[in-house]
Every structure is written in C-alpha cells, then in structure tokens.
C-alpha cells in the first residue's frame, strides 16, 4: 500500500489552492478528482468574479481555473494529480480506497483534506424526474464546457446568484429564457445580476414556483403558481408555460458522504447548506488529521473556497513539519480575507451558520 503525506480529495478551487500552499511549504500532495479534468466548477464560469484582487476579482472563472491549475502544475515534483478516480472508501486509520476505471487502489495518508464541494439541491414537484429538468449548474457545464445547448427555450427556478448568472449565460449562448421563478417574495442573488437580466427582457417572478411538470419521456410544459406567505400554492393562480427545459437552482448541499464514512462529528446547519462536519478554527474535523475546505464545510462563493483551500494547505503543512516560511503572515492574511468576504449582508448566512456550527450564541 502506497503511503503518502497529504491526500486532497477534489480538484476544484479549494483542493487546488490547498495543494499550491502545501507545495510552497515543501509538502507533497496527491489530488484525487472524479472528473476527467481538474478545475472543479470554475471551468464553466464565464462571468467575471466578485471579491477583491486577492481572490481574482474581475477575472472570469474560466481563467481563474487556468491560474489555479497552473499554480499546481508549477510544482510537478510536489503535486500529483489523479483524474477519473473516485474515492469510494475512507477509513479512520486514514486509509483510502480509490476506484480508477475498473481498478481498486488502496493508499494511506498522513493527512487528508476533503474538498469535495457540493451538489445541486432538488425540488419536489410532480414529474420532477422528467428528462429536460436539469440542475442549473449542469446546464452551465453542458453549454460552457461542451458547447451544447439544452434547448431553444428555458425556464429557471431560483433567483440566487447561480440562477441569475446561468440565465444570463443561457442568453449569451443564444437560448431564450422565458422566466425566472422565485418562491421567496424577493430576489435571492445580487441585484446587479437581476438588473442585467431584466434589461434583456427577462421577467423574474417572485412568490412563484413550479407546481407540476408534464410530458411523455421528456419535458413538454410546466404549470407554475403563486405562493402565499407560508409558501403554499394559491389555488386559481396556476399558469401553463410551454417549455422543454427547466433549470433547478434552489441551492447546494455539501458533499459530505466521505465524512460520514469515518463517523466524523456532523451537524445539520441550514445556513451552511445542510449536513456539515463540525470543525475547529484550523478546519480540522473531529477525526485527527482529516481536514475540510470549500463548500463541503458550508456552501459559499468560489472566492471563499479558494481562501479556505490556501488556509487548510497552510495548516496541514505545518502539522506535518513543513511550516511555510511566511506561515504567520499568511495565516493572518487568509483569516482576514475570509472575514472580509463574509462581512456584508450576503455573508450573513455564513456568519450565522458558522456560529451555530461552533455552538456559539446565534444573536449577532
């Protein structure tokens, strides 16, 4: 069995950033990625990022992916990457079972950073399993990575940043967005994204959701309806929209199954997207030497995932005896960046979620 220093599960923004700082510190790492390429969900983000320059603000996500990948490729002796490989087993003695094509591989690591990200949440409504009903992020992959359009017309469910951004990108790709539905009484994402859509003629319908889908073997139409204060459908408000593609963008939930496998302490924190590992300030879970970074420990923007990746890489390097030459300075800088990213009204959910996770008083 191969024994390694650091194994990073997930080659997205958090995993790549962790590997970079570990390599800078002199620590070798192995990144394991189940897709055929690294870069995570950045590879389909054609829009310019928010944040500050340290998190590559105003750079398009597709280009941030290239920067982060090149950052680790600069250390060919220190960072090894295995793609099309899925971690199917994780055990308390830090043994991992990998499935690569049809081959099982067993490895052991001194430390593990779990950076598996999150998956798109689903929505309950009649016939929600019809082909043609997609995760919004999946459609973004289909069109921006593979250049394939989902259909000629789309309805988006959810007006968070992903719903708004993907709607805009659908229009850029030549698709007509018939409407954006939002169950809440107000728009969820940044208003600058909403304004961008509205001026292109897209209506955002608040207090509205999809009630039923119809079609034989593939989506043909949807029935939408207004919601009352208790989020119940208001009878008589149903409307039919003929459309063959529906994108669901109602939030993400952390991909924590590997953490459950090692019986790490977990907590359900709605503000963070669902079940998340209980961690200390160093991003270490209740299992010694198993760390987490990025959306797996609370759903946020990619900017935060990058900084959390750097942060966990720094901590693990020190733990394994490879203290980064600028450790103290970087530690403070990464903490300050995270605090800054989370300090506004859009960071409130994360702030409340982290407090709840740590068992602190929820009153702000």
């Amino acid at each position: 069995m191969r024994e390694l220093d650091l194994v990073i599960i997930g080659g997205g923004p958090a995993g790549l950033s962790a590997a970079k700082i570990a390599a800078e510190s002199g620590l070798n790492s192995l990144i394991i990625e189940r897709d055929y390429k690294v870069g995570g969900q950045l590879v389909k983000q054609t829009h310019m990022f928010f944040g500050s320059e340290k998190q590559y603000a105003k750079t398009r996500g597709i280009d941030i992916a290239k920067i982060l990948v090149n950052d680790v490729l600069a250390y060919p002796d220190k960072v090894e990457i295995m793609t099309e490989t899925t971690v199917v087993g994780l055990y308390k003695d830090n043994v991992l079972t990998l499935l690569q094509k049809e081959k099982y591989i067993k490895i052991k690591a001194k430390a593990i950073i779990i950076a598996t990200g999150a998956s798109e949440k689903f929505l309950a409504f009649e016939n929600n399993d019809l082909p043609g009903i997609y995760g919004a992020g999946a459609v973004q992959t289909l069109m921006n990575v593979h250049g394939v359009l989902p259909s000629e017309e789309v309805v988006m469910v959810g007006s968070g940043n992903i719903g708004l951004i993907v709607s805009y990108q659908l229009i850029q790709a030549g698709v007509k967005v018939k409407a954006v539905l939002e169950a809440a009484p107000t728009i969820g994402g940044y208003k600058v994204h909403a304004s961008k859509l509205k001026r292109l003629g897209v209506d955002i319908l608040t207090s509205t959701s999809v009630k039923r889908a119809e079609g034989k073997d593939t989506l043909e139409k949807i029935i939408i309806a207004k919601l009352d204060k208790n989020w119940d459908y208001i009878p008589g408000t149903e409307e039919e929209i003929i459309v063959d593609a529906l994108c669901i963008s109602v939030g993400l939930s952390p991909l924590t199954s590997l953490l459950s496998m090692v019986e790490a302490d977990m907590k359900f924190v709605n503000y963070l997207g669902g079940l998340v590992p209980v961690i200390n300030h160093q991003h270490e879970t209740s299992i010694k030497n198993i760390f987490v970074a990025g959306d797996v420990c609370g759903v946020e923007e990619a900017s935060s995932a990058i900084v959390e990746g750097y942060f966990s890489g720094l901590i693990v390097a020190e733990r394994l005896g490879y203290k980064h030459p600028n450790h103290e300075e970087l530690y403070q800088d990464f903490e300050a960046q995270l605090e800054n990213l989370r300090s506004g009204p859009f960071g409130e959910k994360t702030r409340l979620g982290l407090k709840e996770l740590r068992g602190e008083n929820n009153a702000e």
Partner: protein, 159 residues
C-alpha cells in the same frame, strides 16, 4: 422594485448621478445599490476616483471631480453595473458594457432600452470597442436622445 424584479426606482437611479453640470464631461455612473463583497471598480480606476475602502462590501462612491469618464471601470465591473454618460449640445453620449454577439456596428440604428427591458426609442452606435484589456466585455458608445438621461440603460439590435 429592485428586490422584486431587478428594476431600481427613479429616486435610486438619480442618487447615483452627479448634479447635471458635471455631465458636460463624461462621468461614470455606478449602479451598485447593495453591499456586496466586490471592489474592482475602485482598484482599476486609473484616476483614483472611485472609493470603496477596507471593507469591500461598501458600495462605491465616485469623486466626480476626479472622474474623467474614461470607461475603464465599465468593463472591469463584474456586475456590468457601470456606464459613463456625457451631455452634448443635442444629445447624450453613453458608454455601456455589452456581452452579446453579434455586436452592433458603427452607425447602426438600434433600439434604446430602459431598465425594465422595454424599447423606449432609437439610438445610434457611434463606436464599438473590444480590446484585449477589456477581456471580452465590449464597450458601445451610443448617441441617445437628451430626455432619456435617467431611462436609457442598454441597446437591442433590430431584427
């Protein structure tokens, strides 16, 4: 209403404009109404005319004395929420960000669009620029009727 459909009120729009005498020269209008963590407009301004400060969640404040209306912030804004405007004798000249293809052409008459997505008249494309520095966000220079100062936001090509 901004938080219901993405359309700011006239009052909100006017709050982002300087008094009209400033507009004899081009000025940047930052239509950024929320506290979101973002500061490229400020860091990209060559004239140090946009202030955000330490907390990147603060909305930008433009120093209209310093602002030259150069348009650098227009294509650096990730929210496409900035444009420049100048009052000429017989018209307004806007510089707006544009990310749809095919681009309109110089001299083309296109529809003028308001923040609600409605057609509010016609306008003329004076210039289309797309340099490497702009990173795939085109800048359209558009000649617009004087009365549309607080209404015009973008263009739509006629089909």
């Amino acid at each position: 209403m901004l938080n219901k459909n993405g359309v700011p009120s006239l009052e909100e729009i006017k709050s982002r404009f300087p008094s009209e005498e400033f507009l004899n020269k081009p000025k940047a209008i930052t239509e950024c109404y929320e506290n979101i963590p973002c500061n490229p407009c400020s860091t990209s301004c060559p004239f140090d005319a946009i202030y955000i400060g330490e907390d990147i969640n603060t909305p930008p404040v433009v120093d209209f004395e310093k602002c030259t209306g150069c348009g650098v912030c227009v294509y650096n804004c990730p929210g496409l929420a900035i444009f420049t405007v100048q009052k000429k004798e017989d018209c307004l000249v806007f510089k707006i960000p544009y990310e749809l293809v095919p681009y309109p052409e110089k001299g083309e008459i296109v529809n003028a669009i308001n923040r609600n997505g409605d057609i509010i008249g016609e306008c003329e494309i004076e210039k289309v620029s797309i340099t490497n520095r702009q990173d795939r966000t085109a800048l359209l220079q558009v000649k617009v009727a004087q009365e549309l100062l607080y209404e015009f936001i973008t263009v739509r090509r006629k089909l």
